[in-house]
């Protein structure tokens, strides 16, 4: 779901990670407040950004596959249960409003995922760490520690999925596909077991390499460049337009 980082020198790659993190949060807010017309613009924008980051469309869209069913369910639920002007006659009535509401919600989710994918594809975990550290620095050691924890957790997540695969296979190899609560235990207990072992070893490695709370993150120091200002500028304009349209529509 989250596009894994790939080293590169595209426009998006070269943007300061702090800009990207801030923009991502900003885009999130914008997506949430935008209505259908604005959302389509944002959709076009995301495809443009995908180009700008070197992320091929196929991979971008692949991130959506696991949640497609989820989207379908949401869309259908809104299609059928939103009150309004009916499209066809019947027991359960799809409405015009239903189509709109459903599409808006699904589109918002899709856009969130797509923007996040582009962000994580073009930002190294180090960069992300740096950006998080920068924004959390006002909170002192707690902030930088939190940033580090988040960064490390992200690196560990793919490993968790791999372990889950191995465990399901191993249990299946016993001819045994447990369901329900038992199935949950059969997966979770070994998963916790192995993950805790892994994390134990990782923390040993961290300590051995002299990790300490007061350490500074300075190698991957970034300076803001013109392109960052341009990117922020574009965002401000976009936000202005979207919000204007939204509130204009109200009156």
């Amino acid at each position: 779901m989250i596009g894994i980082y790939s080293h590169g020198r595209s426009y998006m790659h070269l943007l300061d990670p702090r800009t990207k993190l801030a923009l991502m949060v900003g885009m999130g807010l914008l997506i949430y407040s935008a209505q259908l017309p604005a959302l389509t613009v944002l959709l076009a924008l995301v495809l443009l950004l995908s180009r700008a980051s070197g992320l091929p469309y196929t991979r971008l869209v692949q991130g959506l596959r696991p949640v497609l069913v989820f989207f379908l369910v949401i869309f259908l639920a809104h299609l059928l249960f939103t009150p309004g002007e009916p499209l066809i006659e019947g027991l359960v009535v799809p409405t015009v409003e239903g189509v709109t509401t459903g599409s808006v919600l699904v589109l918002r989710f899709i856009l969130l995922i797509l923007y996040t994918s582009i962000m994580t594809y073009s930002t190294s975990p180090s960069g992300l760490n740096y950006a998080l550290t920068f924004f959390l620095r006002p909170f002192g050691t707690f902030g930088t520690d939190l940033a580090f924890m988040t960064g490390t957790a992200m690196t560990l997540i793919p490993g968790l999925f791999r372990e889950k695969d191995t465990i399901t296979k191993a249990q299946a190899a016993r001819g045994y596909k447990p369901r329900g609560m038992k199935g949950f235990t059969a997966l979770v207990v070994p998963l916790m077991n192995r993950s805790l072992k892994r994390v134990d070893e990782l923390s040993d490695a961290l300590e051995s390499r002299c990790f300490h709370s007061k350490r500074r993150y300075y190698y991957y120091r970034q300076t803001l460049a013109n392109r960052d200002y341009v990117a922020v500028g574009i965002y401000v304009v976009l936000a202005g337009v979207v919000l204007f349209v939204r509130f204009e529509a109200r009156f």
Partner: protein, 265 residues
């Protein structure tokens, strides 16, 4: 440089080390041999203070591992390479992994750059610099782990089963690098169950049933082990001794002895 005195350690499941005395001098290459379950992994972690002894003490450069304020100093002079190549990967790319330790040390950026280039070159993995660690083979990952430790230039490197999860080709390479490191002055503590890995060490220690049972040069210790039949010794050594030839630690040496013996006939 490293000193363990009368060290005891137990897990809830039972005692694992009893009355261990051990020293490692600057620049020494010490091999610690023991079966799986003999406490050798525990020993590795006791040296750097990842674990604390139940009784006795551990000192690195005269600093006790129980001195929590100065643990960082201990870790600066000792680097550790663990058994599982995957479990030690800290950064996403090889470069990030190496930068991590150096940032922890607070070295200036130009120094970091110099060191990274130097050690990637030394280990012959310069082209892996920007590769994602997860895409590397087990042997390559372990080389990266070794680089990440070497780059911090510790006085002593501790290796806990460094090549047991690594393919044959990388194995040979890593062992050679370790020997070379020691040549250039770094003390090495090499812990393993495989005697073939330890033929180059200055001093060999055997851990068995929670205690140090043998200590001495590889020749001395392998000789004792061969007679006691307790543990494996390198095959060339066993063959040369059993045939009454001068003891050979490597296959090459053994073949030379056998040729000499043949022409002697």
């Amino acid at each position: 440089m490293i000193e363990l005195k009368d060290v005891y350690f137990s897990y809830p499941s039972g005692a694992v080390l009893e009355g261990i005395d051990l020293t490692v001098k600057k620049g020494e290459y010490v091999g610690i041999m023991g079966h799986n379950g003999s406490g050798k992994t525990t020993l590795a972690r006791l040296i750097t203070g990842l674990l604390l002894p139940g009784k006795g003490y551990v000192r690195v450069n005269k600093i006790f591992t129980t001195d929590s304020e100065r643990l960082l100093d201990i870790r600066r002079s000792t680097g550790m390479v663990f058994q599982d190549p995957d479990a030690q990967a800290i950064g996403e790319t090889v470069e990030e992994d190496l930068v991590f330790g150096l940032e922890n040390l607070g070295l200036p950026v130009p120094e970091i750059d110099t060191r990274i280039e130097k050690y990637l070159d030394l280990l012959g993995i310069r082209e892996l610099r920007h590769r994602n660690i997860r895409t590397l083979s087990g042997g390559q990952k372990q080389l990266v782990n070794l680089a990440a430790v070497m780059v911090m230039e510790p006085e002593c490197i501790i290796l806990d089963e460094p090549v047991s999860m690594v393919d044959a080709r990388c194995r040979k390479m890593i062992l050679q690098h370790i020997a070379r490191l020691n040549h250039e002055g770094t003390a090495i503590v090499h812990i393993t169950h495989d005697p073939e890995e330890l033929i180059r060490c200055h001093r060999l220690i055997v851990l068995s049933r929670c205690r140090v049972t043998n200590q001495g040069t590889p020749h001395e210790v392998f000789g004792q082990l061969l007679d006691e039949k307790e543990m494996d010794v390198p095959a060339p050594y066993a063959i040369s001794r059993k045939l009454g030839l001068p003891p050979a630690l490597t296959i090459k040496a053994l073949l030379e002895e056998l040729c000499r013996s043949r022409s002697g006939n």
